[in-house]
């Protein structure tokens, strides 16, 4: 070399974890994606040859992400698959024979209509004239498809739209109960629960589990996420459920800059309320309708767990949460606790849960009976009461049987669940998804694929007969490509010469 000054090689500022497949958030074309660790965070990067590069935050704590990968339970085969492998994941849903897990939870959206028009709604529901409403025959076919796949399904959740305003919702719930599905859930905004006591009594008669949207206590939170102040209605709904003896799970959508400061208060409220047995926190899913967001500054499970630990320092630490091994372990974390004199005591401090659910290193050979009981608890199908398996497990019989009835009511569950969107979609996680959307043609489509790949739009179009535009995340870096849809979500602004939008069948 002639030059005396030699160039020095620099290190990359990131650690390369994996090459996987994702989709272009704009055209939904399937593209390669890299997952890297940068500045202690897990970030996905991908490039579409038409729409350029995209980056999104996957998990905001790289150490936690890496340590959770061990909690990956071998999947279980469903009794039957509904589709063939043709174009590859995520275009063959579902479930196709390449899918790694059966369905822990099936979802049926009975309508697209809602008595609210929330600014945040992954289902793009509301007071729309062009929606759909399922018939009794369609729901029967969907339940039967679920049973054919699962044999003895664990949980079915009825959702929407707002399912409680479907005129036949009680009949649908009854159909699920009659088919012997163990846990039947209603996902609702609670307005009908607050106003219609007879409806609440019907739910109690059927033993329905109530999954109640409950985002926080500030007026500003309600207005930002639901578009109006629902605080009084929520309390009336809860009081009515308590009165009727219904078990309620509070479900909070959490968004950056909106209600991050309220997660601890929601847990406190739940622990103190006689009807509430569980709280689920979901970072807002950037599918359907939502507030404009920065994909590199979105909330992830790690953030929610840290917020909970910071807001409930006398009750919780991040290590009290256990990654759920039935799905991909970074998708969902759970903390069980029991309430002792008004204090939540995390279950993970009683038993070395991690030793039992570490499938990858298998350092400790666990008692299989205890492992099985813990799998039932730390599962996507866990509903209030799931701890009974462990409590009555002979190997560890934590509580004497006589004490169970009294004690079960004191067990409390906190779930943190991050759904994927078109920015963060990773087929590695998707292929192990165990929460499936059931379609009227009898398919079971992984929830995150349904919401981000284009399935939702196609199913809605076929059910309603109205055209549904392909929905694109309302992300800040692509604002100049976006135009509003008539439902409030975003689609790609039409440009001359554009081809037909891509997507699954």
């Amino acid at each position: 070399m002639a030059s005396t000054e030699r160039a020095r090689k620099a290190d990359r500022d990131e650690v390369f974890l994996e090459l996987t497949r994702s989709i272009c958030p704009v055209c939904k074309r399937v593209i390669d994606a890299e997952v890297n660790i940068r500045d202690g965070r897990v970030v996905m990067r991908k490039r579409c040859r038409e729409h350029g590069s995209f980056e999104a935050l996957v998990y905001s704590d790289a150490d936690l992400y890496m340590s959770q990968i061990r909690f990956n339970k071998p999947g279980t085969l469903p009794l039957e698959f509904q589709t063939q492998v043709r174009d590859g994941c995520p275009l063959d849903c579902g479930l196709c024979p390449d899918h790694k897990q059966h369905a822990c939870l099936g979802l049926i959206e009975v309508n697209s209509a809602c008595n609210l028009d929330c600014p945040v709604c992954f289902a793009d529901s509301g007071h729309h004239a062009d929606g759909f409403s399922l018939t009794r025959e369609q729901v029967a076919r969907m339940l039967d498809a679920f049973i054919a796949a699962e044999g003895d399904p664990e949980v079915i959740q009825f959702s929407g739209g707002e399912p409680s305003i479907h005129p036949q919702i009680v009949e649908f719930l009854q159909m699920a109960v009659d088919r012997g599905i163990r846990n039947v859930m209603l996902n609702t905004n609670g307005i009908r629960l607050a106003r219609d006591r007879r409806f609440v009594d019907e739910l109690a008669r059927l033993g329905i589990l109530v999954y109640l949207q409950f985002d926080g206590f500030d007026d500003a939170t309600h207005r930002a996420i639901r578009g109006r102040d629902l605080r009084e209605l929520k309390e009336r709904a809860l009081a009515s459920c308590a009165d009727a003896g219904l078990a309620v799970t509070l479900v909070a959508a959490v968004e950056r800059g909106v209600n991050e400061h309220e997660v601890g208060a929601v847990v406190r409220h739940g622990v103190a309320h006689p009807a509430v047995r569980a709280v689920v926190f979901q970072p807002v899913t950037h599918a359907g309708r939502h507030i404009a967001f920065d994909p590199l500054d979105r909330l992830t499970n790690a953030d929610v767990m840290r917020l909970l630990a910071a807001q409930l320092p006398e009750w919780l630490e991040v290590r009290d949460f256990v990654p759920v091994p039935c799905c991909f372990p970074t998708c969902r974390s759970m903390c069980y606790g029991f309430v002792d004199e008004g204090t939540l005591v995390p279950f993970a401090r009683l038993v070395d849960v991690e030793d039992y659910l570490d499938y990858a290193t298998n350092r400790v050979l666990p008692d299989l009976e205890v492992r099985h009981a813990l799998e039932g608890m730390f599962s996507a199908s866990a509903t209030p009461g799931a701890e009974a398996a462990l409590l009555s497990c002979e190997s560890c019989g934590i509580a004497p049987p006589d004490g169970l009835a009294d004690f079960a009511g004191r067990v409390f569950m906190i779930v943190v669940q991050d759904f994927q969107d078109a920015y963060t979609l990773n087929v590695r996680q998707l292929m192990k998804c165990c929460v499936e959307q059931i379609t009227p043609d009898g398919r079971l489509i992984p929830f995150c694929a349904y919401n981000s790949v284009g399935y939702r739009e196609r199913v809605r179009a076929s059910l309603s007969g109205a055209e549904v535009e392909p929905v694109v995340p309302n992300a800040l870096p692509i604002q100049d490509l976006l135009a509003p849809t008539r439902h409030g979500s975003r689609t790609v602004r039409a440009r001359p010469g554009d081809g037909a939008p891509r997507g699954p069948r």
């Binding site: 005591v345 401090r349 009683l350 560890c396």
Partner: protein
């Protein structure tokens, strides 16, 4: 007397929960630091296939099996309790390590090994339980070959001893009554011909143990009428002592020590 009451509580608990439950709730399934700290200690020992590790006070065999699986070494685990040895032996069979890992009933002060036979020794959270700790350390040194390593972890206290409120706790928790400052452990090892090469405090580990004990006591209380009144009363008293233990942990008079030493 507190120790008398502690005995009562122990008896009540095992009566209330029965063997299996007591094992998971109140038993010794957990020592400070758990599997992670054991793994750290095992890695310090630089073991490989064919090496022999002696695990002194091997309990139900969890650490011995972990060491064998991680490093491929052979292990002889020694424990005073025949029921522990029986369980550990069964666990070795389940793990397919019957040939590599053996457990024998024995006293730490008389290890069933020829002089210099062991390549390494492990002693977790038990030194303070031996009636004659110096004799046990001398025995470990005898069994180790020159250059062989010992990894030891134990509850430790401040050089000035524990405060008056902790003396009450010590009445309940056997290992606290005989816990010593880490400097004394180091001195004892040196006297036996074991040169410390790593001396550390892992106080966070014992904080987690206190968390666990507190959770168990709260469970006993939360179970309400399902447990006998004496147990609930015991749990109440135990929770006061847990608070004292937390204070001792915060001011450094209570902690967890790790020492790795090399046989001269």
């Amino acid at each position: 007397m507190t120790s008398g009451r502690a005995q009562d509580v122990k008896a009540c608990c095992s009566a209330a929960y029965g063997g299996a439950a007591a094992r998971y709730l109140l038993g010794e399934s957990f020592h400070p630091g758990g599997t992670d700290l054991t793994l750290t200690l095992v890695r310090e020992l630089a073991l490989g296939p064919g090496d022999l590790l002696v695990d002194v006070a091997s309990g139900r065999g969890t650490s011995a099996l972990l060491a064998a699986r991680e490093t491929g070494c052979d292990v002889i685990g020694v424990d005073l309790a025949p029921e522990n040895v029986a369980e550990a032996t069964a666990a070795a069979a389940t793990a397919g390590l019957r040939g590599e890992v053996r457990f024998v009933v024995g006293d730490a002060e008389r290890l069933p090994l020829d002089d210099g036979r062991a390549d390494a020794a492990l002693c977790e959270c038990s030194l303070c339980l031996f009636p004659d700790a110096a004799a046990a350390v001398a025995e470990i040194a005898r069994a180790l070959r020159p250059g062989g390593l010992l990894a030891l972890s134990d509850v430790v206290i401040a050089p000035g001893g524990i405060g008056p409120e902790m003396r009450d706790v010590a009445g309940w928790v056997a290992c606290l009554a005989n816990a010593r400052p880490i400097e004394d452990v180091v001195g004892m090892l040196q006297e036996a011909g074991l040169d410390p090469r790593r001396v550390e405090r892992h106080d966070r580990a014992i904080g987690e143990t206190v968390d666990r004990v507190e959770a168990r006591l709260r469970l006993a209380r939360a179970l309400g009428a399902a447990v006998p009144a004496e147990v609930r009363d015991g749990a109440r008293r135990g929770l006061e002592l847990v608070a004292a233990a937390r204070r001792a942990l915060a001011d450094g008079t209570l902690g967890y020590g790790v020492v790795v030493a090399r046989r001269r």
